[in-house]
Symmetry: C2
Subunit: 459 residues, 2 copies
């Protein structure tokens, strides 16, 4: 079937404005935020508005021997939504309805294309809270969050997307629609196919709706503790000490000097300068418990040799500090293409890993800025190569591989929260090993025997 | 291969005392605590001491065309560990080692046969806490807890077994050993095969070791609030109101009069008598927050028409009250064979469901006692038939089916925490539907093509 025939077939069922075939439009959907990974111009792009629309795409693609790449907002950092050769991209960005907010059961049912922050607002109106907060929460979709098992800042205390997905509507490789999971607080009926789908990056099914468990909105009191350090390792020692002391902060983020300077030069936020690293921490226990926890965090920072430690309880001040963390990635992207790591090491190994990253930058003559969900041991060394400098790009890739190897040596995992996509495939394969990879292939073949759904991604 | 040949082959590799062939010994391992479900005398019972021993069993069984039923302590209530015709039972009860307790990363690595309470004690010695607390926690194994995704009393706040399993060692259907999951706080590498194994009841692999995430032991202050009610429905109204108010108790249990009386007559604990139902609640937030939450729980009980509401902060008194809850099941078993329900309905539907259970008892002329993790909507109506009364047993089965239907009508699931095993198969199949069942069959065939591992269970 020619590309024109495919588009014509899609337009038999879908409205013309839902089927994009213009080359420029198709290129706009050719990759997510992982341009370093391979991508192709898709045969067509479909803007699905219902689960049935997704079924139409899957069936049409299967008939035409094409693959289907599902996509939310395209904010992924591993290439999971990068278009494949001979693929149709189905975007769920128009599927933004909130079907139900249930207060007594504390769940929300929403379509996959809903922006995380819009979902957050919708449930807040009912006194409920959806914790997972990837840095992209203002622009990424809840379905993309589920497909990649997105993390975020508050995960150190509240867990990742996986921990909140109770159920979902999924379009399978044969185009059939199934409802997985439950809406009750507990459930043990059959295999946990919901958990299998979370993080499977659209390779086993396309998530079109999610049911998410929620927490009460109130009852938390935020206190921020910010420490600046003369070295990344000192900051790492503070992180390990806070964790070993049994304190569970609601955020424990690290920003290095390069990130801080890049944000400040871009946005002029008046951030602390002159330190090698900043640790941004919050605790949210109410009352005396929270005050004690904040004091304890501050003490551990001081003991680790902090240059200065400040506490803040003013929400505007806390927001300003965390805005720096959230803007770090786009600020660095202004300096050149960014190759993003997402390693997760044991908390106690954070100082050692930070040292090795610094050594790798020196050894490979590349610029590496580091932001981190330090409290989880989840580090994002960001390798920056000047635009158009092929040699720098090659060195960046070597540094990338070196960091992955170091992470595995320290007992870590190659992706903490971004998913494998394409960028992390070699590291993931080494980490999983041949027999576990075979389990992945067997499950993929069982649920998608023709390899229609995002083949070659995730494992 | 004859049964004797199978045993001889096992004894070539294993010590003689690990291979039980005496009929009485085999009968002792023929079923878990679900005698109402079908069971058979196994060909042999193997007491595995290492993961390699389990491999020996799986390979020997596969060669001989037998199936393998894995078993922890045999405390399951759905028949998941009931022996099949032509099966070898492999018990992991001797695999009780704690390999590692990691304080800074907050995890424990332990063998599957370790008793939940022994694991709890082992990690408490390091200032850590493993929350999931099935009523059987003093006698059930952590591997069985993982294989069935066991729940418990504190799950209303702290989640179920699934929420704590980071990784595991598993023997696959071909006898190969794999390590799934991770030890880091976060991880998104590949499919979540760990979650797929949790609750799969030994049908996809045999869990021989688990890595469990832990919480700090300290920082909680228990306050109990106990309300007695003139009717089950009144108690249900209190549960729904507490939930709708956004209070998250650390326990919210219901015991009906029949359970209370059975426990008190057995153990003489001096429990409150004369009410139709007791709600046992704890909150564990420290300080003023906890005091306010306890007061709020008490107020909702009063508003729902409680006959009396008492608060307790004395740990011994709290333990005494919850001991009644934990002893309810064995106390009722003394009255006759118990057919155990494990339905989970939306919290708001708890009063309606309790009313329907009472109606079902009347309509089918059966005795039904109810205990419940009421705060999760997870109800255990226990249907009791006098020993040897075939007509009563038949009526009990009809009542069982009626309760399952009612639960599904109210948006519930047929098993909240016991698993499907054999007893819940019809209800589970109706709940999952044909297409999702086909996904289960496809995954089972992909990972266990010869059907060696506990075939016919779980879905």
């Amino acid at each position: 079937m020619s590309d024109d025939d495919v588009a014509a077939k899609l337009r038999l069922v879908l409205r013309p404005d839902q089927v994009l075939t213009d080359p420029a439009e198709r290129d706009a959907y050719a990759h997510d935020d992982a341009e370093w990974a391979e991508f192709h111009r898709p045969v067509a792009v479909v803007l699905a508005e219902t689960t049935d629309d997704v079924t139409v795409v899957v069936r049409t693609a299967a008939d035409a021997g094409l693959s289907v790449v599902a996509r939310g907002a395209g904010t992924g950092l591993s290439g999971g939504a990068n278009a494949l050769a001979e693929s149709i991209v189905v975007s769920l960005e128009r599927m933004t309805r909130v079907h139900e907010v249930n207060v007594s059961e504390r769940y929300v049912v929403a379509e996959a294309g809903l922006i995380n922050d819009d979902l957050r607002r919708a449930v807040a109106a009912h006194g409920l809270w959806y914790p997972p907060d990837p840095a992209s929460y203002r622009i990424s979709t809840i379905g993309g969050n589920a497909a990649t098992n997105a993390g975020g800042i508050c995960c150190v205390k509240y867990g990742v997307t996986r921990d909140y997905v109770l159920g979902m509507t999924v379009v399978l490789a044969d185009g059939e629609i199934v409802h997985l999971g439950r809406r009750t607080a507990k459930g043990a009926t059959g295999y946990d196919l919901t958990a299998l789908m979370v993080g499977s990056e659209g390779t086993l099914g396309i998530i079109t709706e999610v049911t998410l468990s929620l927490l009460p909105l109130g009852g938390r009191e935020e206190r921020a503790v910010v420490g600046s350090f003369a070295s990344l390792e000192d900051a790492g020692v503070a992180v390990a000490a806070i964790s070993a002391a049994g304190i569970i902060p609601s955020a424990l983020e690290l920003i290095d000097a390069m990130c801080l300077n890049a944000v400040d030069e871009w946005q002029g936020l008046g951030l602390p300068r002159g330190a090698a690293a900043l640790l941004l921490s919050t605790v949210d226990d109410p009352g005396a418990t929270g005050a004690e926890a904040a004091a304890s965090v501050a003490r551990h920072m001081t003991d680790a040799g902090a240059l200065a430690v400040d506490q803040a309880v003013d929400p505007a001040e806390i927001d300003r500090l965390f805005l720096a963390r959230r803007l770090a990635y786009p600020a660095l992207e202004r300096l050149g293409p960014v190759l993003t790591e997402d390693i997760c090491v044991p908390r106690a190994a954070v100082p050692e890993m930070l040292g090795r990253i610094r050594d790798t930058a020196a050894a490979h003559d590349v610029v590496i800025a580091t932001i981190a969900h330090a409290g989880d041991g989840n580090l994002h060394p960001l390798i920056i190569a000047p635009e158009g400098d092929a040699a720098a790009k090659a060195r960046a890739k070597l540094a990338f591989d070196r960091i992955v190897e170091d992470c595995r040596e320290l007992g870590g995992t190659v992706t903490g929260e971004h998913g494998v996509g394409l960028l992390k495939l070699p590291g993931a394969r080494a980490e999983l090993g041949e027999r576990v990879l075979a389990m992945h292939r067997d499950i993929k073949a069982a649920l998608d025997p023709r390899g229609t759904l995002n083949p070659g991604k995730a494992f």
